[in-house]
Amino acid sequence: MEQNREKDLRVAQTTFVGRIIASFTHELRNYLAIIGESAGLQQDMISLGGKSKLDASEYLKFLKDIEAEVRRALKLITYLNRYAHRMDFETSDFSVNEAMEELAALVSRLAYLKKISLEREFGPDIPIIHTSPALIQLVVYCLFDQMLKSMSRNSTITLKTEAVSGAVAISLTPRGTPAEAAEEGMCSGTELEQVLQSIGGTMTRQSDGAATVQLPFTKPAGG
């Protein structure tokens, strides 16, 4: 029984990491494609000399596109790097808002492809906690994945964090029209509860499909 649970968790974690990497590399390819074409167009213009139909402002626009794409790519790379380092230790001191910000940045393309908007409402003054950020990101991703598969186009999912009596609450709330045929999510409810139990968290679900994960405040290891 315990072995099966471990195996299910490993499969879920591997799938999660795979999806993040696939989405990241797709997005990075898009950024590089824009940089490549914008730079290529500059070369074309220079080769053409004065024969180009584009004026100076359009020329400048393509140069600015290159700069903007480099910035977008660097931001995403920073998030992926931070996400990868979440797995360096089983538990660590971390900011829930930072972990959720990074997760939202890495999965927002998945929502965009379904024309679903991912909104963020992060509460202020949430203390640093000590637990497993990688497992919390996995749980929140599993909930997000279920919602993505159960909502139709033009819906919204709100990812919210707040401090509530002795705990940090992370909630995901779907708004919009349910999908005609909802697909199954990546993780089962039992799996999610077991993962949360292992780190002292709990989960509640509302009738509107919203889900809230609560994590007790645990003192940072560093004091």
Binding site: T25, H26, N30, I34, S38, L48
Partner: protein, 125 residues
């Protein structure tokens, strides 16, 4: 100007616009559109000879666009463009509905060769 319209379909506007401009500089009759609905409208209006189609777009997927294009304009020759590293998954979904595959970022000379072959296939059909 080379014969036959080339339609670029990609939701990354900067990419699609720059690529279309580079193809125009190379004497192709290229046009860029930025979503699935626009793509279907353009196919209905212009019946392009070649479509360079990003298969991962928001809303209606490129796969669905390709199926629709094959219904509306069966002669249009489609080159799939993707950030997906392998063509195998598209073959599974689409069989031989597309002519060729290009991985982003594209090399303009490689893409030109693919487009030229696609234009020939369009003429031969």
């Amino acid at each position: 100007m080379k014969q036959g319209k080339v339609l670029i379909v990609d939701d990354e506007k900067e990419f699609a616009a720059a690529l279309a401009e580079r193809l125009r500089i190379r004497s192709y009759d290229a046009l860029a559109v930025f979503d699935a609905e626009e793509a279907i409208q353009a196919v209905l209006r212009d019946a392009p000879a070649v479509m360079v189609l990003d298969v991962r777009m928001p809303g209606i997927s490129g796969v669905d666009v390709l199926r629709a294009v094959k219904q509306i304009a069966p002669r249009t020759v489609v080159i799939i463009l993707s950030g997906h590293g392998s063509v195998d998954s598209f073959r599974k979904d689409l069989g031989n509905a597309f002519f060729d595959f290009a991985l982003k970022p594209v090399d303009i000379d490689d893409l030109r060769q693919k487009i030229d072959k696609a234009l020939q296939a369009y003429e031969a059909a």
